[in-house]
């Protein structure tokens, strides 16, 4: 039940939740992704008349094994958090709950008119000639769209990298740079050589991201903006860099949740966006649906989903096809994709068997690469290569997770998948870098008297805030988190003095 939509829903307030629960598809999705025990409770309560408080303690605890009681409390808390269970107080017991009326209605409707709800109606209109779209087209387009986002972020990491490199160049290497400069000059003179890398870049930019989407990326904190000479320049932040190494499920949800959070600014209705998103997960891949029956919010949302690659919109925007990624939406946990590309050996050699530009780009970041063939790259994990990604903001844990998620099927027969020597070495390298720890704190000084200083010091000491103090100079240093309490204490002291 971790992550994804459930986590997001718990952060919403009750009114928003009620709005969401008035839609059949959201209720259906939520029921689908609840934990088994919670599911059981919801369905049990559905059998009682609406709005009747049910004493859970007596109804449910009787058939729960004593060792699973903890689980009972967890699922109960979750349901209350989600506002699906509403606590009510009756005379007999405190532990009475009733099902959220909106949720109750939708769910009972769902059971009664099951067939109506099972499938979204397909678009049917035989009089018109519609452009037919094959599954292959949808797949390749959604993949392209998604990769456009990632490569936008990737392209803006590189700039930073160049800067760091030029800074770290040592005096001895200056002669080398001169040589390369000469080489560059030569290349400029010879246009044939120069066009090669440019071509490569253009291929990646086949699809341009819209301004709206770029500003969304800025809001998520993945991109930082700088205005230099009236031109806006983007740079991928450390957060954005970490984002690149996450699995697609997490990436997709992070983007969507940020989208939902910001949709009201653009005049869209939040609950409609959420319900449409969940509705999408019930549509079948490869079928066509009519977009004209949708509300205005949903239609604008559809355009943006088209940009992420979740749906395929036809040219006149009348018909949309959900893409194969939509099934990700109602899945709770990311699964191993089964078609990874990395092979890693105990001697730190690592191979990437993939023609995918993005995967290869990530590969060259954390690997000291040695060979690059059209669909195979090989290299060695070195301290320097790992450190370079750590400096950019990646954590060792995330990197290991990335490698594990993307291991080649051949590797799966081994356990653990990543050789322990490699895992440990990466974590050690990370630890070595994190020798510094920073904690915000406050320094208090210029106490009017020694007495006051000692009183404050004792207060800080007793509440475990004190880090350091100097009796001679009357200085106290405490944690930043304690500032409010200490400030209060000091002001109460000075009032007393008056």
């Amino acid at each position: 039940m971790e992550g994804g939509i459930i986590q997001y829903l718990t952060s919403l307030n009750k009114e928003n939740l009620n709005e969401i629960y008035s839609q059949p598809f959201t209720c259906k999705t939520i029921l689908k992704i609840l934990s088994p025990l919670s599911k059981q409770y919801v369905l049990q309560l559905l059998c009682f008349p609406q709005n009747e408080p049910v004493d859970l303690q007596s109804t449910f605890l009787s058939f729960i094994k004593p060792e699973m009681k903890e689980n009972h409390q967890i699922s109960l808390n979750k349901l209350v958090e989600l506002n699906i269970f509403i606590q009510c107080y009756s005379k007999t017991s405190k532990n009475c709950y009733s099902l959220n009326p909106h949720f109750y209605q939708q769910l009972s409707q769902l059971i009664i008119n099951y067939e109506e709800f099972v499938e979204e109606k397909e678009y049917e209109n035989q009089n018109e000639i519609i452009e037919e779209v094959t599954e292959k087209q949808i797949k390749s387009k959604s993949k392209k769209q998604w990769e456009a986002i990632l490569s936008y972020l990737i392209d803006h990491v590189e700039e930073e990298e160049n800067k760091v490199e030029s800074k770290s160049q040592k005096k001895g290497e200056e002669t080398k740079t001169r040589k390369t400069r000469k080489k560059r000059k030569k290349e400029e003179e010879n246009p044939k050589v120069k066009t090669e890398p440019k071509k490569n870049r253009r291929r990646r930019h086949e699809i341009k991201l819209s301004q709206g989407f770029i500003s969304l990326l800025e809001k998520t904190g993945f991109l930082s903006k700088k205005i230099i000479k009236k031109k806006t320049r983007h740079k991928t932040t450390q957060e954005g860099f970490r984002f690149l190494f996450e699995d697609q499920h997490t990436q997709m949800w992070r983007i969507l949740l940020f989208y939902i959070d910001n949709c009201e600014e653009r005049g869209m209705v939040k609950s409609e966006v959420i319900s449409f998103l969940l509705r999408l997960s019930f549509m079948k891949f490869g079928r066509k649906y009519n977009s004209e029956t949708l509300s205005l919010t949903q239609q604008t949302f559809l355009l943006d989903l088209d940009e992420i690659g979740l749906v395929y919109l036809t040219k006149n925007s009348q018909i949309y096809y959900p893409s194969h990624i939509t099934s990700v939406l109602s899945n709770t946990a990311p699964k191993y994709s089964g078609n990874g590309h990395l092979i890693i050996e105990t001697n730190f050699r690592i191979y990437a068997k993939s023609p995918n530009q993005i995967q290869l780009q990530l590969f060259t970041w954390f690997v000291h690469s040695q060979h690059a063939l059209p669909n195979l790259a090989s290299g060695v994990l070195t301290k320097r290569s790992i450190r370079s990604v750590l400096i950019k903001g990646l954590t060792g844990e995330l990197l290991l997770k990335y490698i594990e998620h993307n291991t080649h099927p051949e590797m799966l027969c081994k356990f653990p998948v990543i050789p322990p020597t490699v895992t440990e070495q990466i974590l050690l390298w990370e630890k070595e870098r994190n020798r510094l720890s920073f904690k915000p704190c406050r320094k208090y000084f210029e106490f009017p008297s020694h007495d006051e200083y000692f009183v404050v010091k004792k207060f800080a000491e007793d509440s475990n805030f004190l880090i350091w103090s100097s009796d001679h100079d009357k200085i106290i240093i405490t944690l930043e988190s304690a500032h409010k309490q200490i400030e209060k204490f000091i002001s109460s002291l000075s009032e007393k003095r008056k």
Partner: protein, 80 residues
């Protein structure tokens, strides 16, 4: 009246601390506010990134991998 300022508590091992105090002496803007003991320093929050970067650079100069050395030699043509 009691006054207070924001600071950053830096915890590190003694060797790195030595390096940081050296950085402080060399830099024009002193960022160490107080020396709190063998592994603790109170520093100016604005210096955090600079320190992190400098320590990273120090690590980089002390990193040695045989493989990279070999490649350097090969590119220079010394290795036959």
């Amino acid at each position: 009246m009691v006054r207070y300022t924001k600071g950053l508590l830096l915890e590190c091992d003694p060797t790195i601390k030595k390096y940081i105090t050296k950085l402080n002496e060399e830099s024009q803007e002193k960022f160490i506010i107080h020396d709190l003991g063998p592994t603790l320093l109170l520093i100016n929050p604005s210096a955090k990134e600079m320190i992190q970067r400098k320590v990273d650079q120090l690590h980089d100069t002390n990193t040695y991998t045989k493989l990279e050395e070999m490649e350097k030699k090969i590119s220079k043509g010394n290795l036959k």
